[in-house]
């Protein structure tokens, strides 16, 4: 019967479309597949062998001003970070890291025009940072009440001169 043939044909066509959309379509690679592949190669590390230990950075962090609480949250080779809280709420993240071997980390300061305490500054989104030799000191806002002026003020509270001597 012509109707039945047409019907059958439609079903076959729909089935092949379904198969094409589900089974046969190769899985799209993730936007991070290349990074996964590159970082899995033998001998590739994320942190340089001679990077400074995070514990060396703690003493250069600012003391919490009145109304603020500072809680150290991470201390790894090449990195230390503290949370800055106000009234129990996280308003900013403070960090120091060794830029050795991290693509783009120190290079982005080459075009810097602004300076804080004589050190080059970069502003990206909700973060402001300075480069002190090979070390990057960064303040990131985590609440709208903590703005760029606050970030600049807190960067100056770090012992940047002391950190420079660690280089």
């Amino acid at each position: 019967m012509p109707f039945s043939n047409w019907h059958r044909g439609t079903v076959a066509l729909m089935l092949s479309v379904v198969l094409l959309l589900t089974g046969c379509q190769p899985k799209a690679p993730s936007q991070f597949s290349q990074a996964q592949q590159d970082s899995s190669k033998k001998g590739v590390t994320a942190v340089a062998k001679d990077a400074t230990q995070g514990s060396e950075f703690n003493k250069f962090f600012p003391r919490p001003a009145a109304g603020y609480a500072r809680t150290f949250s991470q201390e790894k080779k090449g990195f230390a970070e503290a949370k800055l809280n106000k009234d129990g709420k996280n308003v900013a993240m403070l960090s120091i890291n060794d830029t050795t071997g991290i693509a783009g980390s120190a290079q982005k300061y080459a075009a810097a025009t602004e300076k804080i305490a004589g050190y080059p500054v970069t502003n990206l989104g909700n973060q402001t940072a300075v480069l002190v030799g090979k070390y990057q000191v960064k303040v990131q806002s985590r609440d709208p009440s903590f703005d760029k002026t606050d970030r600049q003020a807190w960067l100056q509270k770090f012992d940047l001169k002391g950190l420079e001597k660690l280089n």
Binding site: A35, A46, Q74, G125, N126
Partner: protein
């Protein structure tokens, strides 16, 4: 090769028994836990970043950090996954291909074996120690003093706090009752290094428990449990948590029959993989926090 960090985070279930059971504990820590899944979602939520190029750069740095074995992140992931999977082998095998799905309590009753109290108490202690060790693998030992370190530990929120809430509720109060802290403590005090070596949960993670040998490791577990018992006691009393109250809440979300109480703990043990689930979320958050600060 083991899975990449973005696959692990992208594949976190948005439903199923684990997520449902954790949602049932929202009344314990109201609004603290959202089931954040997906790698780029995590980057956006943690950093507030909207620029796609920045999100890409943060994600790539996080991938590099996770894959650098010397950094300890993979060891932490292994700990979370291993301590979850050490649960009753028979039940676990029966459910192996049901992860992320709803699992019916009655349907699996035949595969469940209630754990003796002593084993459950010891498991509780070991899970707690695993949390402490995984914390140090992920975060190091932040700050320059014991006070700084305790401050970092006390700063638990979000998925980390949910993991501790689930530990207290699913591995403490529900299977052992309101006296679970003292039971844990007395069990560990009566445990010999030989007993410890025969506990499946301990055996699975012993290579990463500090102490050098089983006697030293037993000492480390005892000390750790002793040092957080005050925190756990406060957690229970400040929220007036009781076995009956918890069961009535969990029953609304997860299909369990309270008259088979012995089996509820065993069921939660095999069906609810909360260490792996929230541990992956914690790890992703910490990696992203570090990545965004370093780039």
């Amino acid at each position: 090769m083991s899975k990449s960090i973005f696959e692990l985070v992208d594949q976190l279930p948005t439903g199923g028994t684990t997520v449902t059971a954790l949602n049932a504990l929202d009344f314990v820590i109201p609004g603290q836990w959202q089931n954040l899944t997906g790698f780029t979602n995590t980057i956006r939520a943690v950093t507030g970043e909207t620029d796609e190029a920045m999100i890409q750069a943060i994600g790539e740095r996080a991938v590099y950090l996770y894959n650098d074995e010397s950094q300890g992140y993979q060891r932490a992931m292994w700990l979370y996954q291993t301590v979850d999977n050490a649960a009753g082998a028979l039940g676990a095998a029966a459910m192996a291909n049901k992860i992320g799905q709803d699992i019916s309590f009655l349907g699996f009753l035949g595969n469940l074996t209630p754990k003796p109290e002593k084993v459950q108490s010891l498991d509780l202690c070991i899970k707690l120690v695993v949390e402490l060790v995984a914390f140090c693998q992920i975060n190091g030992i932040p700050g320059d003093s014991i006070g700084d370190f305790l401050g970092a530990l006390g700063d638990y929120s979000g998925e980390s706090l949910m993991r501790m809430a689930a530990l207290v509720c699913f591995d403490g109060i529900i299977p052992l009752g309101p006296n679970f802290i003292n039971m844990g403590l007395s069990t560990i005090q009566q445990t010999t290094p030989d007993d410890l070596q025969h506990n499946p949960s301990f055996k699975s993670v012993s290579s990463l428990i500090p102490g050098g040998n089983p006697a030293g490791q037993l000492g480390f577990i005892t000390q750790s449990f002793d040092s957080v018992k005050g925190w756990m006691g406060d957690f229970v009393s400040s929220r007036s948590l009781t076995q009956e109250g918890l069961l009535s809440h969990v029953k609304q979300y997860v299909d369990i029959s309270v008259d088979k109480l012995d089996y509820v703990g065993a069921f939660l043990d095999v069906a609810v993989k909360y260490y792996t689930h929230t541990g992956t979320q914690t790890l992703a958050r910490r990696l992203v926090e570090r990545a965004v600060a370093e780039i």
